[in-house]
């Protein structure tokens, strides 16, 4: 998790992730093309992203392609969003149920469990 947050804590690296999200599987040259960074800077940022497992590198022939790996972001979602959001969602569901039951009796279940 430390490596992950450290990797995300830099605007240049977040830009690189955005670039890969828009167009996945790019070479270093392609990534450098539209960025205001030196090739060396991009290389260093990619190394940090790879260490955090946010970027996966695959070889295709002579080319080295960089892919965005979303799996660690899922971990952040589960650890830092999902867990904190769940009580509010449950509270909202209970409120809805109470209001619907109170207004119309206990027969309406529209929009309930799916």
């Amino acid at each position: 998790m430390d490596l992950l947050f450290k990797a995300l804590a830099d605007p240049g690296r977040r830009t690189l992730l955005d670039r890969l999200h828009a167009n996945d599987g790019q070479t270093l040259g392609e990534l450098c093309r539209h960025l205001d960074m030196t090739r060396q800077g991009v290389t260093q940022h990619l190394a940090v992203l790879e260490a955090a497992n946010l970027v996966a590198v695959q070889r295709r022939g002579r080319e080295k392609l960089h892919f965005l790996n979303p799996v660690p972001l899922q971990d952040i979602y589960e650890r830092w969003i999902c867990k904190f959001e769940r009580p509010r969602l449950v509270a909202l569901r209970d409120l809805k149920r109470r209001l619907e039951d109170g207004g119309r009796g206990a027969t309406r279940t529209k929009g309930g469990k799916r």
Partner: protein, 153 residues
Amino acid sequence: MSATDRSTFVYVIFIRTTPERLWAALTDPKFVRQYWFDMTVECAWTKGSPWRLVGADGSLTDTGEILEVDPPRRMVIRWLNEWKPELKAEGPSRCTIQLEPVDAAVKLTITHEIDRRESRFITAVSGGWPRILSNLKSLLETGAIATTSHPGH
């Protein structure tokens, strides 16, 4: 073919287990069901054998064939969606599953690709893989899964 004529997603996860245990977790239908949204996988896991994914309600969601298999290191599945006509119309995709031991863990790499640009099928599966892999990791490392909801439900 250049990479731009393809749609590719790559998923990498490190799981503290052995390649043998992870291979079993990927191929044992009872185990798969626990982390793959109640889906059942049907396959003999030999080269050329048919591969099928069946939903909890018994509906056939995906079909295919094992193109390569090298336990506990690598397998390649020809994968065709059967669930939505517009996804099936895109034709078969390839899913490569690679296991590499790294220190006390296994690096699991899933590469899912199809020979067309901006594939809707590849986008559709992209929502599912991170959750499936996250569940698989939790199950192997702690014995419990993190999320149970299927994307789109």
